[in-house]
Structures are given as structure tokens and as C-alpha cells.
């Protein structure tokens, strides 16, 4: 195995990795995590409500969407925590603007994840941060170094001339001091990536990634990087298309399947290593409590946020929940009011960042102009 000093990670030998999954399009938290014991839920959603008999029961209030069943073991084993009625403080229902606010961590410059990585006490390595996909997500703006990655080949030392590395090693061997050390660390990382790419990947513990699903293959590549000890500290990956205004089930059900299967494979593949990994799943806002006439739901406020991984106090809900009874139609309105944001997304992210090496004095820089009251996600 690798020697810790060969990897320049901000969190040193701990080598923890934070993965942020963004569900773009506003995922319906009330379908993914239905309040199956709340009669108001079925009144507001006579056609779309997830039936109690279909849901995977989580506790005495909530169930899990049936297509998320692959995540049930993580819940039962205490590795998955959920925060409901979660979102931004702003009543902004534009996808773009709400995503921006959430990814920037407020009206702030750069992204919260980027600022977190910048605030690290030690320098991050060249492979510390990866964005899976085609473009850099806003949350990673300002990160010290980000690789937008579509394939692991992006990580190799390029060059058609095979001996570029050899000749470079020869030149850098003459270097003393900082540059020489940095070069040696880099050659070491390259070696590990080459070894990783030289043979087909076999996921551990019988995990199976759906090879035709780019969300699953993205997660698989992240698992490979984590296992190869290249110093991956943070990564982002999106799963898009949650904007279910019409015939919600045809849109949401397959997405829920992909999300759950991908994550379950990732968790199984990493096994014990999952203790060093946190996965945060977030969306820009939730959807209306009341279903609409097109078998869909519209832009709402509170949604569900998930934290999966090492050390989290899982198998339980965190944060406030007041039920749907307070949202009943009043006056001329025939619709339930929207689920309010009772839990700010920053209060979920803050404890996760602390676990990943943020110092508490950095939190006001990472989330400026906001009075944090972090949830106790960790003991």
C-alpha cells in the first residue's frame, strides 16, 4: 500500500473523501421519503402518494420510495441519515437561481465546496478534487484545483512519447527542495493511476454497477480513485431530470432506481473504506405538497437531503419536522401549502465539512453571512 507522505492530501493520512450528488431539477422529497403515517399526505396526493404498503418503512413517520429499496440496508446498518424539510432560506423557485444560491452557499463568491478546499490548512494535491461530468459545477468554483473528468484516462500523464515520464524523472531528480518533493509525489501518483488503468476494474464484495448508466459508472470511477489512494478529497456528480411537473411517476421512478442502485453498488464496492467517505445528496428545492392535475408536482420549498457514509448517526432523521397538518388548505385555497424549509442545507453541510477536516473557524468563511446552527449528524 501507499505511504501517507507520498500523498499530499489536506486531511493527511486520514484520506477522507466527500462526494456531493446534486439532483438537478428539484427532486420531490415527499415521494422519495414519504410521510406515510400522515393522513394529510394522502389527502394532498390522492393519486401520487406513495402507498404505505409499497414504501420501505424507515420509522414511525416515514418510509422510503420503493425504488430506493437498495438503500434500505444502509439505513438499517446506521450509515444513512436523512434530513427532511430541507433547503434554502430564500423563497426562490427558479431552478437556476436556487441551484446557484445553494451551490454558492448564499450570495457569495465561489462555491461552498471550493471555499472549503481553499480553507484547508495544507495544500491539496493535484488530484484532490474531481467533477464528474462535462462542466465544472458552481459548488466547486474557486477550488484550488479541479479536474472535470469524463474518463479516468484524463488522469494519465499524457504524451504519445512513452518516455516523457522517464526523461522528466531524470530532470526532476536533479531538483532539491519543494519542487523536487512535489515532483516525486506526482510521479508516485501517476504510477498508481497507471496501475489502476492497466487492468479491467473488478468491483469488490460482489458489487455491480450498471454499465449503461453514466451516474453509476461515474460513481464507479470515483470508487476506483478512492481505492487507488491518489488523494481524492472531494468530488461532485450530478443526477439530473427531477423536474416532474407532468406524470411524475414515469420520470421519478427510474431516476430513483438509478440513484439507489448506483449508491448501493458504490457502498458495497467500498466496503470498510466507506468509513472514510461521505456522500451528500441534495437538490435545489422540493416540490408542492399538493399534486397537480397533470399527475405531477410543481416547484415547492422544502426537500429531502441525505448523508451516507462513515461516522454519521444514521438510521434516523435529523432536524425539525412538523408534519403536513399545518399546511392544510385555508380560505379559498384548495391546495395544501408548501412544505416549509425547517432545516437549512448549510446546517447539514457544516457538520459534514467538520468531519472532513474543516476547522470551525473556517465555517463562517465557507458559509458567509449566515448564522449556522449545525445539526448533530455525528456523535
Amino acid at each position: 500500500m501507499s505511504t501517507p507522505q507520498a500523498i499530499i492530501t489536506g486531511n493527511r493520512d486520514e484520506r477522507r473523501t466527500l462526494i456531493v450528488i446534486f439532483q438537478r431539477g428539484a427532486a420531490d422529497g415527499l415521494a422519495l421519503v414519504p410521510p406515510i403515517e400522515d393522513d394529510h399526505y394522502y389527502r394532498a396526493r390522492p393519486r401520487l402518494g406513495i402507498k404505505k404498503t409499497d414504501a420501505v418503512r424507515l420509522d414511525d413517520r416515514f418510509g422510503l420510495h420503493p425504488n430506493l429499496r437498495p438503500l434500505a440496508p444502509a439505513w438499517q446498518e446506521g450509515d444513512l441519515a436523512i434530513v427532511h424539510a430541507c433547503g434554502i432560506e430564500d423563497d426562490n423557485r427558479s431552478h437556476f437561481e436556487a441551484q446557484d444560491l445553494m451551490e454558492h452557499g448564499g450570495v457569495a463568491a465561489g462555491g461552498w465546496l471550493g471555499r472549503f478546499l481553499r480553507a484547508r490548512p495544507s495544500t491539496s494535491g493535484a488530484l484532490a478534487c474531481v467533477a464528474v461530468g462535462k462542466a465544472l459545477p458552481e459548488c466547486l468554483l474557486g477550488a484550488p484545483s479541479v479536474t472535470v473528468m469524463q474518463s479516468l484516462n484524463d488522469f494519465a500523464l499524457g504524451g504519445k512519447s512513452g518516455d516523457l515520464g522517464t526523461q522528466l524523472q531524470r530532470l526532476y531528480a536533479m531538483e532539491n527542495g519543494q519542487l523536487g518533493t512535489a515532483a516525486r509525489d506526482t510521479f508516485d501518483a501517476i504510477k498508481r493511476i497507471d496501475a489502476m488503468r492497466s487492468q479491467p476494474y473488478r468491483p469488490a464484495n460482489g458489487a455491480v454497477y450498471e454499465t449503461k448508466d453514466e451516474f453509476a459508472t461515474g460513481l464507479q470511477q470515483l470508487a476506483q480513485l478512492i481505492k487507488a489512494d491518489v488523494g481524492l478529497e472531494a468530488a461532485s456528480i450530478d443526477i439530473n431530470g427531477w423536474d416532474s411537473h407532468f406524470t411524475q411517476e414515469t420520470l421519478l421512478n427510474p431516476l430513483a432506481t438509478r440513484l439507489a442502485n448506483g449508491l448501493a453498488a458504490f457502498r458495497q464496492d467500498l466496503g470498510e473504506r466507506m468509513q472514510t467517505v461521505s456522500v451528500v445528496i441534495m437538490t435545489e428545492f422540493g416540490r408542492t405538497v399538493q399534486e397537480n392535475s397533470a399527475f405531477g408536482t410543481d416547484h415547492g420549498r422544502g426537500g429531502a437531503m441525505f448523508v451516507l457514509g462513515g461516522g454519521v448517526q444514521g438510521g434516523r432523521f435529523h432536524g425539525a419536522w412538523k408534519g403536513l397538518g399545518q399546511l392544510v388548505p385555508r380560505g379559498l385555497s384548495t391546495s395544501y401549502e408548501d412544505l416549509p424549509v425547517l432545516n437549512n442545507y448549510r446546517d447539514v453541510l457544516a457538520p459534514v465539512l467538520l468531519r472532513h477536516g474543516a476547522r470551525s473557524e473556517d465555517l463562517p468563511k465557507i458559509f458567509p453571512d449566515f448564522a449556522l446552527s449545525p445539526l448533530s449528524l455525528y456523535s
Binding site: 465561489g110 471550493g114 471555499r115 474557486g142 484545483s145 516523457l164 519543494q178 506526482t186 501518483a189
Partner: protein
Amino acid sequence: MNLPRRQFLVGGTLAATLTGCGRSTREMRDDFRRLLGQPTAPLLTGPFTAPTSPTLDDASHVLNRLTFGPRPGDYARVAQLGAKAFIEEQLAPEKIEDTLCARVVRHEFDSLADPDSKLFPRKGQAQDSLAALFPTLKDRGARVGDLYDSDEKALLRDLTRSTILRAVLSERQLYEVMVQFWSDHFNIDPSKGECRWLKAADDRDVIRAHALGNFREMVRASAVSPAMLWYLDGRANRRRTPQDTPNENYARELMELHTLGVHGGYTQQDVMEVARCLTGWTCREKKKFFKGRVEFHPRDHDDGPKKVLGVNIPAGLGAADLDRVLEIVTSHPSCANYVSWKLCRRFITDEPPAAAVEATAKAFADSKGDIRTTLRALFATPEFWAEETRGAKFKRPFHFVVSAVRASHAETDASPQLVEYLQRLGHTPFRYPTPDGYPEEASHWQSTLLWRWNFAAALAENRVKGTRLVRGELRKMAGSDETLLALLLGRKPTETEQTAFAQSGGNLALALASPAFQRC
């Protein structure tokens, strides 16, 4: 040949430049490439005399430090002109002809040169004087508002690309180096609020307008720059009732980062007092009429007496408090020391010798912040010319990428693929989130080697989309591997370098990825 009207106009100006001067086939070809909107690079003109000294001589040293890296013919020209004459030349950018750069930048960017916008010079206008870069500040409010008509993503993309193109193409290299220096000094990340539209105006009216002008005027311009009012919350700094707490964000950074330095001798009390002085300055938001206009609202201003750094400011000055504050902080000795220290760190070494900082600070103070005078003094210090100074700076990634493009005589349109490398290297222009700007010190950038090497390989093998070099051209022009390597490294290569280069078959990537090319 059916050309769009816009390109036809460019063609017209090109045709005009063609008459009266004997042009080679190569030059004609390049003119037509430009006409067709294809990327262009400066003409590769000799002689290509290579440096022969085993250490960096004066010409290589000034090219390393005052520019984003020498192009193949630059060494010969500067060696002949003399390093000191080159410094003087670069300190007077308005006298340097920069036709190609001006034309390419104007030709490339719609959002920065929208015919309907008065903000930026019109595409196709053959204005090659500095007027294009130093427009007057008149009617700022009305014009800045025009920026909101642009798509903010396109605006940022164009701003980024034009910054790269200017760094690659401009003959006014020291000016571009200083633009980058001040962009960090007065850093604004456009991703905050309406900065996404307004940063383009800040780039023109604050940074580029004063990059080699007067520091005090630059701070004044920055203080009332709409983007800065957004970025550091000055627009929300108001005090209508005694209970209102002023927003001190800008006041603090004005002293900590822009003028005095964190150990500049100010107190928390001074921060609060400066914030009080600046209450009432704001910028009209996007959703309002006259968006982007900077205004002073007397009823949001705290007009009581204040005391800043021991100097009393009487009550009732209103908007003029701003000028009093700026006078106090920019004429403070800490300001001369701090700005000079930063300049010395950029141009001499990461931990600049006190004597050099002192000499530079004296020029800064004596000239009341004249940037050219200050730089002239810096470039005259023995520390700038010292043996241990030469080649001792680690190029920041932007410098590395641009110097590689320049050294290899690649043509580039600074397309997203090039920007992607800067992103991997963590040094994309206008992407630094906090107000302190990209770090200067080498230690911050040590972990960027892999992507430097990968960029070198991609560039040498023509795998960076939008950026192209004619393979073999450099080698042919240099005449031998040793000359080529000397041109790239700015000195006679060591034996190890020469052997490695020869064994790699003269691989350009190896030279650009080598330790020596990471330094300047």
C-alpha cells in the same frame, strides 16, 4: 467569396494596412487567416539568436519577469536593444504598437464589442491607440448598465478569453503583467451577485485604466466600481438611524488588502470609522432603472465626525468623506510599504529583501503612488538584478501556460479547452473566490506539476483544441536542438538537459515540462 459584413469591415482595414508595405507571402497568409477569423500568432521573424550564457543573462531575466515569457525572436531583440532600454520601452505601453492584439481581441468578442453597446469599442473599428484600453470614465453609470444586456456566462467566457489572448499576443507585456497583478490585488470573483455582469466594467475602468497609472486614482476608481460595491457589500453599507451597524466588509479589505496590509497599523476602531465614512455609497440593482449606476445617498450616510488612523474627519462632509479616507490610507507609509512589498514579491522573489522594498516604497511615496515611477525604482534595485534572483520564481500556472504558448509560437484562440487546463491548474482568470486574489508564493502551486506536464504534452502534440503549433517549425528555425532548447530555457542548457532532450528526440513537451521552464 461571400463574407459577412462585419468580417468585410475587418478585411477593409486589413487591406488598408497592406498597401504601402512590402509583405511576405507568410504575412499575407496570416492576414487572410485573420480575415477568416482563424487563430493567429505573431509573425515568426528572426533573427533567432539563442542565449549562450549558462545562467540567465540580463535580456533573459527581464523577459522572464516583465513578460509572460519570451517568444522565439524576443531574446535576440532584447539582447540587441539592451535590458534597460526594454524596461523603459515596456514602461511606456502607449508608445508600443499593438495592432495585432487589438485587432484580434476586437475581432473575437461579440459581448465585449457589441456594436449596440457603447461600453466596448466596436468590432471592426481600427482604433489601435490606447484609447481603446483607456477610455474616459464619463457616463460610466449609463454605460455600465449596458452590460446587463449580455448573457453573463458569455460575458465571463469572453472576458477570460480576451485576458488570455492579450497575455499571449500583446506587445505591451509589462502592462498585461500589471493588469494581472492588480486583478489579484483588487480581486473580484464575478460569481457573486451582479458582479457577473459588472466585473467586465471593473476590468476596463479600474484595472486596465490604471494598471500603469496612479495607484491612488486606481483605489478611487475601485472604491466606486459597481462590481466592487457588490463584491465587498459596499452597496449595503448604510446607516439611517444610530442603531444601524455599517457593513464593514469593504472598509476592512480596503485597509487590509488594498492599501495598508494586515499589519499596517490600523485597528478595529479604524475599520468601523472607515465603514461609517463610506455609508451611503451604493449601486443600483439589476431590477431597477439605471441599473449598475453608482450613487451616493445622503440619507444613508453617517455624517457625524469620524477619526481614521488618528486623523479627524469633521462632520458634514457627506460624499467627500470617501476622498478624505482614501487620502489618509493611500498616503500612509504602510501603504507604500505594503504595495511595494507585493510588487517586489512579484518581480524579485517570494520573500523580497528589505532594501529593495524600501527603495521601491520611497519611489512610491515620493511620486504619490505613480506606478511607473515605482516600477522603475524596483527594476533599478541591485536585488532585482542579483544572481540569486534570476530564475528563482516559480511561474504561476497562468504564466506557465501562456509562456508555453508564446515560447512554442503556437496560435491560439484561447478556447474553452485551453481554459480547462487553467482550471485544472487552479488558476483560471476571474475565478478566485476570496478578496485576497490568487496567491503569489511558489508553495501554493507545487501540486500543479502533473497538469503542467500534461499541458506541455498536449500543446506539443497539438491536442489542445483551438491552439495549434506548426510542428517542426521551431526546430527548423532554431537550426539545432541545442539552440532550440536555449531559446526555450533562456540560457545554455545543462548537459543533463541536453542529453535528455536529445534522447527524447527533441520533444518540445519535455522542454516545456522541465524544471527550468517552470521558473522565471
